[in-house]
């Protein structure tokens, strides 16, 4: 199975809240786990990525938590802002081969 299951499908938070998006994978050969952010009318853009040798990675207000034994990883957005409103996709790949994407999470951050 090459699936990556992403949840929730949609998420609404107030400004300053901490939305959390979760992904689960099945293929233990995956070794690269990126998150992409997509604004309406634009293509997805890499937000942050992690490899399975670390359990957490932070870049600014964005944090990936990785649980190798549970085969799960999640994106946390600290102090969320209305400008963070977008669709977020998790993905997983083995090396640089074709990534498997989650189905996406539509995030709305209210002012």
């Amino acid at each position: 199975q090459q699936q990556v299951k992403q949840s929730p499908q949609s998420l609404i938070v107030q400004k300053g809240g901490i939305p959390i998006i979760n992904c689960a994978y099945e293929n233990t050969a995956f070794d690269y786990f990126p998150w992409y952010q997509q604004f309406p009318g634009k293509g997805p853009a890499l937000l942050i990525a992690i490899r399975p040798d670390v359990s957490e990675k932070k870049e600014g207000r964005f944090t990936i938590s990785f649980n190798k034994s549970a085969k799960q990883f999640s994106l946390h957005i600290m102090d969320s802002q209305p400008g963070d409103s977008a669709t977020y996709f998790c993905a997983a790949s083995r090396g640089s081969y074709i990534p498997t994407f989650g189905r996406g999470t539509s995030l709305i951050v209210h002012p």
Binding site: P34, Y36, K42, G43, P44, A45, G102, R103
Partner: protein, 111 residues
């Protein structure tokens, strides 16, 4: 530097017509991907080119879809005898290693 570009940005066609969508990847990127994204949906993998290797066509939904990559650079996705269910945003991405860089997409509408 220049990112991935796609043309046209919008294409409206009549059912049964053929269409060609173009992708100009980032210079030097050896890998090129095509995806389809329907309204509010995730990324559906179509085809993958890596260097001079034979393309991975495993995601093409029917034999009406084909793609080529000339000189290891520009790629064209061709849809023959378009159907209304082909209406979607077609995204191209290129990469040198793990990170994919996406173009803005071509929105295809089949009337």
């Amino acid at each position: 530097g220049a990112g991935v570009s796609q043309s046209p940005s919008n294409k409206v066609t009549e059912k049964g017509k053929d269409v060609e969508l173009r992708c100009d990847p980032i210079s030097g990127h050896t890998a090129l991907y095509w995806y389809r994204q329907s309204l509010g949906q995730g990324l559906e993998f179509l085809i993958y080119f890596q260097g001079n290797s034979a393309p991975d066509k495993s995601g093409l939904p029917s034999d009406r879809f084909s793609a080529e990559r000339t000189g290891g650079s520009v790629s064209t996705l061709t849809i023959q005898r378009t159907q209304q269910e082909d209406s979607a945003v077609y995204l191209c991405a290129s990469s040198l290693a793990y990170t994919q860089y996406f173009g803005p997409g071509t929105r295809l509408t089949v009337l």
